[in-house]
């Protein structure tokens, strides 16, 4: 309880309340002009943390939607290509049926064979389409054209490739015969370097994802698996740790890609495989059951040779081929539907998060405007008091 008022007290009191009101006034002005409730972390520390969290989540949603969109365009092109292939196969099948019957003759069969080749070429060109600079149907070997014109009768092993960053400058050659039934990429990685005899290394049978036990001695030919042999010849520089060599091995057939699908992240922790490999759609390796190009080549040979039995035996396989293609056309549709569902779920989340963020961050302009008016009144009243203060003194009343 103040029992006596001194001059300093009067002025200090007025000063302090004036500063206080001015601070609040300024604060309201700032909020009105930025339209935001939270203009700095100290305005609402917990709220600021949540705002940042929402922003992060919203950015992630935008990212996922972008991934979904590019996966969808990939899938839609694949679906349209496969539909074309399916249509061509249907027309080939009807030709085959008619040429298998007794009413056909050698000359009709020859004509049919001649008209078959362009269709085979078209199917192959559809199978070899690119999306940007990546082949659709090569699996993860997106820089390699998936289907050759002629089949290789035996398995092949490519010349081994030394990665460009290797220190080892000797040579490595491949040998042996590949016994696998699907295309694969093998890799050899140097663990500790040194002379060829002293180096230790690991082998991977899946292109570098997983590695086997550490082994030693590269001076003699190394069997790395499935019948593939690698022979290292020393150069001027020894191999060092992380030098890597890989070799592609192919099963007999037309296909040059592999069976690995490309994947993309479409939601938190959810990745989908969006690509369809040539192996499963067009070949009988891996998940595929029918070697479509072989069936068509065999059909053509049978037509050229006027071999009715040969033509008949391809009819069943043509059915299976058509079914295999249709199955994957359906898959494209299924995957696209899944992506659409993810996309609309993301849209919902987007709306929800935006509204949550706005609740914390955005200012209620109407409410602020009212408070602003009130503060203005309070400030005016304080100013008037300050103005009168000087004249409220007994001095004015003496004499």
């Amino acid at each position: 309880m103040i029992t006596r008022v001194s001059d300093n007290m009067k002025f200090d009191l007025l000063n302090n309340s004036m500063s206080g009101i001015q601070l609040q006034y300024n604060d309201l002005m700032e909020k009105l002009s930025t339209q935001k409730q939270v203009n700095r972390p100290s305005d609402d520390p917990l709220g600021m943390g949540k705002i940042l969290d929402y922003r992060s989540a919203l950015a992630q949603i935008t990212n996922y939607k972008g991934n979904i969109d590019s996966s969808k365009s990939w899938l839609s092109s694949v679906e349209s290509n496969l539909s074309h292939v399916s249509d061509i196969l249907t027309s080939i099948k009807s030709t085959a049926i008619s040429q298998a019957s007794a009413t056909a003759s050698a000359s009709t069969r020859q004509i049919a064979a001649d008209s078959l080749q362009p269709l085979i070429d078209e199917i192959r060109s559809l199978a070899n389409t690119k999306f940007g600079n990546r082949y659709f149907f090569s699996g993860t070997r997106t820089d390699t054209e998936p289907f050759s014109e002629t089949a290789s009768a035996v398995s092949r092993i490519d010349t081994p490739v030394a990665a460009t960053g290797n220190t080892f400058d000797g040579t490595v050659t491949s040998g042996g015969a590949y016994t696998g039934t699907a295309n694969k990429t093998y890799a050899v990685k140097i663990i500790t370097g040194g002379t060829l005899a002293a180096s230790t290394y690991q082998i991977s049978a899946d292109g570098g994802k997983t590695w086997g036990a550490v082994q030693t001695n590269l001076s003699a030919p190394v069997t790395i698996g499935d019948g593939i042999q690698l022979t290292f010849t020393a150069g001027a520089t020894n191999p060092v740790s992380n030098d890597i060599f890989y070799v592609h091995a192919y099963a007999p057939g037309y296909y040059n890609g592999n069976g690995e699908e490309l994947s993309s992240e479409v939601s938190n922790g959810v990745t989908i495989n969006y690509s369809i490999t040539g192996e499963e759609v067009f070949t009988n390796q891996g998940k595929g059951t029918v070697d479509i190009f072989k069936v068509l080549d065999d059909l053509k040979t049978a037509l050229v040779n006027n071999d009715a039995n040969g033509i008949t035996s391809q009819l069943d396989l043509l059915d299976q081929a058509g079914a295999q293609i249709s199955r994957y056309v359906g898959q494209c549709g299924t995957r696209t539907n899944g992506l659409d569902a993810s996309s609309s779920a993301l849209d919902d989340m987007n709306t929800r998060l935006t509204s949550l963020k706005s609740n914390i961050e955005d200012a209620d302009v109407a409410k602020l405007a009212t408070e602003f008016q009130m503060k203005q009144l309070a400030l005016e009243a304080t100013y008037k008091m300050a103005g009168d203060l000087g004249s409220m003194s007994i001095i004015g009343f003496l004499k």
Binding site: N39, A163, E260
Partner: protein
């Protein structure tokens, strides 16, 4: 004549006393705006008693003393309250700078850049052979790294500025202590001689308040009027006219920032004995708060660098090579070989600095020789103290400590060859590996030597990994809680400051109620003394007339007929 004389003397005393009283009023009015001024009040007292035949009469008046109106307990309250407000104010000043660095409300800060960074990896995984995606990733990564560097360096600068402010505040305090000793001396001398040292005491109380703003002090007054001032651990700052000054001492275990010490015991830090006031506020802001934020920023940078690098090096780039480092090594500058060294090989630093302060490590050769033969010792404080002597291994790989290692190529060492390396906050020198910047094909997006994008996908998934920062927080969450923490610290400091200021104002009002000058009151006093003066003057006039009558008794007056 005696009685009249007595009345004259009484009147004279009254005039003089009221004149003095008016003087005192004048002094109060003149000092209405002097800070710390305690108003003076003249004590009128009557002098002497005159025995008349029937009773006693009090005659005369004198100003017995001029009383300085103050309440020493209210003064003490104010002095004790000062450090609390000053502590929060000092923190608030430092933290406001921090807030402007971390103001994420407008966007474009680390929160946004982190989102872009993780998105860039995700987009790369959807098109691993794409050059556009790789260029974009490098550009975003460089922005992220440069923002981390900027934030860390801004925080370091704030720490440095605060450090200098501490030194300035200590100098200021020492100045006040000198003034205090001086005032003590003067007050004692004046009061021994019987004089009135009111204005010097007022000055001394003001000085106490200023000292209290810098550091929390206790004080007591000795019998001779000297004030002894001491800090919370009992050590004196001022005793009479003796002063024990404070100083600053660099602390190599705290990035060479200052500790506060007594000048006569420079090895004993008294940081935690300051208990309040601006010095303690600045020290806590520098070490606990800004230092804490730097450590948090580092933890994030180190987590990003080490996790991205680890995942990156288990993938393959566009040419089938195993991925190298995506970010350059964390927190370690290139090592420096002293110019006088005989060793002709090269030394490279490796690893990731796990320490929490800026440090300089040194390696010095003890016994000369080649790799495998020479011996060396390691210092973690720039060469002040050394570890035990060890033998240089044949592969030239030695560990210095806290995650730093050196690799020496073949060569011969001479005794005393020295190599130093600065280890600093990883965030302060975070950058994308120059090899990646030069050739974006080296970004290891694939998990196999073929062209899949799975490794980039795994790196993008680090964003959602909640095991990295402890407490179930992802890296993004950790940053959010850092910003939240900064906001909370500032809000707390503001609230505390407001509260302490309100308390101080309250106490000052109480003090003012006793010691403050009220012009209205002084005006009334002036009227009072003026009236008394006039009355005494009138009395003199009356006496004069009466004396005239007396004197003129017996003088024949010419009667004019």
């Amino acid at each position: 004549m005696g009685d009249i004389g007595r009345v004259l003397n009484t009147a004279r005393d009254a005039i003089l006393a009221n004149l003095t009283a008016l003087n005192v009023t004048g002094s109060n009015v003149a000092n209405v705006n002097t800070p710390g001024y305690s108003r003076l009040r003249p004590d009128f007292g009557s002098i002497g008693v005159f025995n008349t035949s029937s009773d006693q009469q009090q005659v005369g008046v004198k100003i017995i003393s001029i009383e300085r109106l103050y309440n020493k307990y209210l003064d003490a309250q104010v002095v004790q309250q000062e450090p609390n407000g000053a502590y929060s104010q000092a923190q608030l000043d430092v933290l406001n700078n921090v807030e402007s660095i971390f103001n994420e409300s407008t966007g474009g800060g680390i929160n946004d850049l982190l989102s872009q960074f993780w998105s860039a990896w995700s987009q790369l995984s959807a098109n691993p052979s794409g050059m556009t995606e790789r260029d974009y990733l490098v550009s975003v990564s460089q922005s992220l790294a440069s923002t981390f560097r900027q934030r860390a360096n801004d925080l370091l600068k704030i720490q440095n500025d605060t450090n200098n402010q501490i030194s300035d505040a200590v100098t200021q305090l020492n100045g006040y202590l000198d003034q205090m000793a001086d005032l003590n001396d003067k007050i004692v001398q004046v009061e021994i001689a019987g004089g009135n040292a009111a204005s010097m005491r007022d000055q001394r109380t003001e000085l106490l308040r200023k000292i209290g703003q810098l550091v929390q002090v206790n004080y007591y007054e000795e019998a001779n009027g000297a004030l002894n001032v001491y800090i919370s651990n009992g050590r004196s700052l001022v005793e009479g006219s003796n002063v024990w000054k404070l100083g600053v001492q660099t602390n190599p275990n705290n990035s060479n920032y200052y500790d506060v010490v007594f000048q006569d015991t420079p090895t004993v830090a008294i940081n935690d004995k300051l208990q309040g006031g601006k010095l303690a506020g600045l020290i806590d802001a520098r070490d606990a708060q800004v230092g804490g934020y730097l450590n948090d920023l580092d933890k994030m940078a180190a987590a990003i660098i080490s996790n991205v690098n680890a995942q990156h090096s288990s993938g393959y780039d566009l040419n089938g090579n195993v991925g190298g480092n995506f970010f350059s090594l964390a927190g370690i500058y290139p090592p420096v070989a002293a110019s006088g060294n005989t060793y002709a090989g090269t030394v490279t630093a490796g690893g990731s600095y796990t320490g929490t302060k800026h440090k300089t490590y040194e390696v010095q050769i003890v016994a000369p020789g080649a790799l495998g033969v020479a011996t060396y010792k390691v210092s973690s404080d720039g060469g002040n103290t050394w570890g035990s002597v060890q033998t240089m291994p044949a592969n030239g790989n030695i560990t210095l400590g806290e995650g730093i290692n050196f690799t020496f190529t073949a060569g011969t060492f001479a005794a005393n060859d020295t190599f130093s390396v600065n280890a600093t906050y990883p965030a302060a020198i975070m950058q994308v590996d120059p090899g990646i910047v030069a050739d974006v094909a080296k970004i290891a997006a694939s998990a196999t030597v073929n062209k899949d994008g799975d490794n980039a996908g795994l790196i993008a998934a680090i964003q959602n990994d909640s095991s990295l920062m402890g407490g179930g927080l992802t890296i993004d969450n950790y940053y959010e809680s850092l910003v939240s923490k900064i906001g909370q610290n500032i809000a707390d400091a503001k609230n505390n400051n407001d509260q302490q200021t309100a308390i101080l104002n309250q106490m000052e009002s109480q003090r003012e109620a006793v010691s403050g000058v009220s012009l209205d009151e002084e005006m009334m006093n002036m009227i009072k003394y003026e009236a008394a003066y006039n009355a005494a003057g009138r009395l003199i006039g009356v006496i004069n007339t009466m004396m005239g009558t007396l004197i003129n008794l017996g003088i024949e007056t010419s009667i004019s007929s």
